[in-house]
Every structure is written in structure tokens, then in C-alpha cells.
């Protein structure tokens, strides 16, 4: 029998821990890293003045955002306008439930090893779209609405190749549980990055598109749409959108690590360190892409998903099935 009060207290504590982790390691450090990497790639310095080497820049930014006034546009739908950032942030937070961080003794550091782990992850990724669409619509601003609509069509299109990659991995591992998938990857050559290379490529591309990053950042294209769906958001609500976005991006990086790079597995160093190393390598890759490539056009973006990635994913599922059966 489940002990309900204890479970609820545990869930609350874990939510606080993950949220803090996401806010500090994910969003705050992520923003700093983004700027530093961007500066490095474009041969400039990046933030330099607040704290040693600009390390406290994001803390200063956060304090600034916390102090700002909440502005609600006059004709906006207030209830939806205020709920939308919460949906994005909570969905970004929920994706972390199924990610195994490492092992401590015999225990795996994971909030819940759900037996539908990767289905849950994909589901939470798709809930984000609702928040974006609702926020874009409720702002009552044509740029926001356009950003929201673009985002919805993009995220729906790229969910399919993402799911194809997940299906291929689940087929090879024989389980939907994330811990099971990590356990199925033995050694360097056993990691799914090698055994499932096409799925790895498809997953990385669709993950970049799912988190709306360059070269797929059409929903928030600054030069065309001001800031897309969060043009009208100020202060902490804007920060919540950013938090959800970075949380989602780090969750995607963590999921790439779990599914394809062997998760916490690695020689010598403790599992948690390996996990973080691999995750930050993927995050760095995403930032590298962001500061290197120009933006796609909308038709190119949809063509890439429907005409290239989706058929490739289907063919790869067929090949994986053949390999497993025979």
C-alpha cells in the first residue's frame, strides 16, 4: 500500500530540488554559458564586469527581472496570459522526472523510473506547445500570435521525427524505461550513438527544433517578430518563459545523453560527473550550432521535417526491426 502523505511530501521536496537545479544549473548558468560561448565563437569577450570574469552577470539579470513590474496588455485575456508561462515552466520541469542523473551505490539517482519513461518525456515536450500558443494568443499582439502559430506548426512537425528516433531506440533497448535504456548500452561501442547513429542524428536535429533554437528559431525570430510569443511579457513572467525554455533545452541535452551517449556510464570518474560532462557537451554543441548557422525559412523548415527526417526515421525503424528480428 502506498503511503500517501509521505509520497506527497517527497514529491513536493523533489519538485523544489529540481526547480532549484533547473533554475540555477539550467537557466542561470545556461544563459551565462550561452553568452560566453557566443562571445568566444564571435571573437569577442562576452559579459566581463559583474563578478569575476562576469560570473555573476546572470544573477544581476535575475534580480533585475524580479524587480520589474508585471505589465498586462489592456486587451489581453488576463487569465490565459498569466497561466501560459506557468504551463511552459512546469512542462519543462516535469521532463526532468524521468532523467537518471547517475548512481549512488546501488541506487539510481532518478525521481521516478517510470516504465513509460520516454513516452512521458515526449508527452511533456508536447505540452509546452500549449503554453506557447496560449501565451502568443493571449497577448493580443500580431507578432506574438504569429510567433505562437509558427511555433505550434514547427513543434508538431518535429515531434514526429523525434518520436521516430525514440521508437527506434526503445526497439533496440527493448524497454521504454530510461534506466533500462542506459543499462542496455554497454561500453563505448555499445552506446546507441553508434548502434543507432541515424536515430541519433534525427533526434539531435528534431530536439534543436523542439526547443526553438537557431537554426530553427522562427517562433522568436528577433529580426522579424520582435521576440515572438513572449514579446508582451515582462519581469518574472518573461523569466519563467526563459526558465522553461532553458529547462527544456537542458532536458533535451540530458535525454540525448541518456538515450544515445550511455547516460551516467563511463570509466574512472563518478557517474554523476560523467552525466554532467556528457550533458554539457551536448549543450555546448547546441550553442555552437546556434552561433554558427543562419535561420531557416518556414518552408525549408517544414520540408526538412516532413520530406527528409520523417521518411528517414520510418526507414530506420524498418531497418532496426529487421536487425532485431533476424
Amino acid at each position: 500500500m502506498v503511503n500517501w502523505p509521505l509520497e506527497i511530501v517527497k514529491a513536493g521536496l523533489l519538485a523544489v530540488v529540481i526547480f532549484t537545479f533547473m533554475a540555477i544549473v539550467g537557466a542561470m548558468f545556461g544563459v551565462l554559458l550561452e553568452r560566453k560561448v557566443g562571445g568566444w565563437i564571435q571573437a569577442r569577450l562576452g559579459p566581463k564586469h559583474v563578478g569575476p570574469q562576469g560570473l555573476l552577470q546572470t544573477v544581476a539579470d535575475t534580480v533585475k527581472l524580479l524587480q520589474k513590474e508585471h505589465i498586462t496588455p489592456r486587451a489581453a485575456d488576463v487569465a490565459i496570459f498569466n497561466t501560459a508561462p506557468l504551463i511552459v515552466a512546469v512542462a519543462g520541469l516535469m521532463s526532468w522526472i524521468v532523467i537518471p542523473f547517475g548512481t549512488l551505490g546501488d541506487r539510481v539517482l532518478i525521481v521516478r523510473d517510470l516504465n513509460i519513461g520516454i513516452v512521458f518525456f515526449a508527452a511533456m515536450g508536447s505540452v509546452t506547445v500549449i503554453g506557447i500558443l496560449a501565451g502568443g494568443w493571449a497577448s493580443n499582439n500580431k507578432y506574438s500570435l504569429l510567433g505562437g502559430l509558427r511555433s505550434a506548426s514547427q513543434m508538431i512537425s518535429y515531434e514526429l521525427p523525434l518520436a521516430m528516433a525514440l521508437i527506434a531506440v526503445a526497439m533496440e533497448a527493448g524497454t521504454l524505461s530510461t534506466v533500462g535504456i542506459v543499462n542496455a548500452q554497454e561500453g563505448w561501442l555499445g552506446s546507441f550513438a553508434f548502434r543507432q547513429f541515424p536515430a541519433f542524428v534525427i533526434f539531435l536535429i528534431s530536439a534543436t527544433a523542439e526547443v526553438n533554437r537557431v537554426p530553427f528559431d522562427l517562433p522568436e525570430a528577433e529580426s522579424e517578430l520582435v521576440a515572438g510569443y513572449f514579446s508582451e511579457y515582462t519581469g518574472m513572467r518573461f523569466a519563467l518563459f526563459q526558465l522553461g525554455e532553458y529547462g527544456e533545452m537542458f532536458a533535451m541535452a540530458a535525454m540525448t545523453t541518456t538515450l544515445f551517449l550511455g547516460g551516467w556510464r563511463g570509466p574512472l570518474l563518478p557517474p554523476l560527473v560523467w552525466f554532467l560532462l556528457k550533458m554539457y557537451a551536448v549543450v555546448f554543441f547546441l550553442m555552437w550550432v546556434r552561433w554558427t548557422y543562419p535561420r531557416f525559412r518556414l518552408d525549408q523548415l517544414l520540408n526538412l521535417s516532413w520530406k527528409v527526417l520523417l521518411p528517414a526515421g520510418l526507414v530506420w525503424i524498418l531497418i532496426t526491426g529487421y536487425r532485431i528480428t533476424f
Binding site: D77, A79, N115, A122, A123, A134, A152, S153, E159
Partner: protein
């Protein structure tokens, strides 16, 4: 006890937001409150040990169908739709029909005793569902796949702009 409490909370969430879906004058709000309804139903599936169905429910219903509905509303209805009359002349008849149906169904459900069957659900349903789909339900699986394919092509053909 815990299960009953969870059921009550989930059914309140489900029914309250379903009422908003059905009754709201603002069509976007009514589409958005479809989300708590569907999430509540996903929770009920988990309560019924159907966690795979719950996951698919969130993935397909919330992630795809609701987004599609919102998308179409935003493309067609100018603004919230509050400017238009949202209900037709049959409100009274509709209320009557729905109430009669609800009473009839409940009478049937209260009047029948369902014999609990033998056996138990497997601990881990996803692989069992997969094997059922590929053994005894293979025909359903194939037909559904065909319907899906036809619907995909049909939607493209219908929604396409003719030149």
C-alpha cells in the same frame, strides 16, 4: 482511501473543465480548458493501471489534437468568437436530451452488477499491449494503420488550396 480521494479530485477537475469546454462563450477558453479535462482523464487511466494509455493520451490528445484545434480556431475565428452567437436554437432540447441520456445511462450502470473476471492486469502493460496488437488484434492494427494513412492523405487533399 487514497485511491478514492485521487478519483474524486481527478473527476472534479475533469468535469469542471468539461463544463467550461461546453459552456464558455469564449471559444479559445473552451479549447484551452479541454487540456485540464484530458489531463484529468489521463490521471484516471493511471488510477486504472493503464499508464501507457495515459502517456499516449497526453501525447496525442493534448500535444496534437488540442494544438490542432487551437490552431484552427486562431486561423478562422476572428478574436475570441465572443462577438458571435455560440449556441443555436436547440439549447432547451439539447439540455433535455443530454439530461435524459445521463439519467438513463446512470440507471443502467446502477442497476447492473458486473461480475469481476478472473486474472489480473500485468504489472507492466506496454509490452503486453504490443504483443496483443501483433497477435490477436493484428487485423485491427492493420486496418487502423490504413485509416490513418487515408486520413493523412485526405486531410492534405482537403486543406490544400486549389489553383
Amino acid at each position: 482511501m487514497g485511491q478514492l480521494a485521487a478519483f474524486i479530485i481527478l473527476s472534479i477537475v475533469t468535469l469542471a473543465s468539461a463544463v467550461v469546454v461546453v459552456g464558455s462563450k469564449n471559444i479559445v477558453r473552451s479549447a484551452l480548458s479541454l487540456i485540464p479535462t484530458l489531463l484529468g482523464i489521463a490521471g484516471l487511466y493511471i488510477l486504472l493501471h493503464a499508464e501507457y494509455v495515459a502517456g499516449i493520451q497526453v501525447l496525442i490528445y493534448i500535444g496534437a489534437i488540442t494544438v490542432l484545434i487551437l490552431f484552427v480556431i486562431m486561423l478562422t475565428e476572428q478574436g475570441t468568437g465572443a462577438r458571435f452567437r455560440q449556441v443555436n436554437e436547440q439549447v432547451l432540447a439539447g439540455v433535455l436530451a443530454a439530461a435524459v441520456l445521463a439519467v438513463l445511462l446512470m440507471a443502467v450502470f446502477f442497476g447492473t452488477t458486473w461480475a469481476p473476471g478472473p486474472g489480473a492486469l500485468p504489472q507492466y502493460t506496454a509490452p503486453a499491449i504490443g504483443s496483443t496488437f501483433l497477435s490477436s488484434a493484428i487485423l485491427i492494427f492493420i486496418v487502423t494503420s490504413f485509416v490513418l494513412l487515408v486520413a493523412l492523405m485526405g486531410a492534405i487533399v482537403i486543406a490544400r488550396r486549389e489553383r
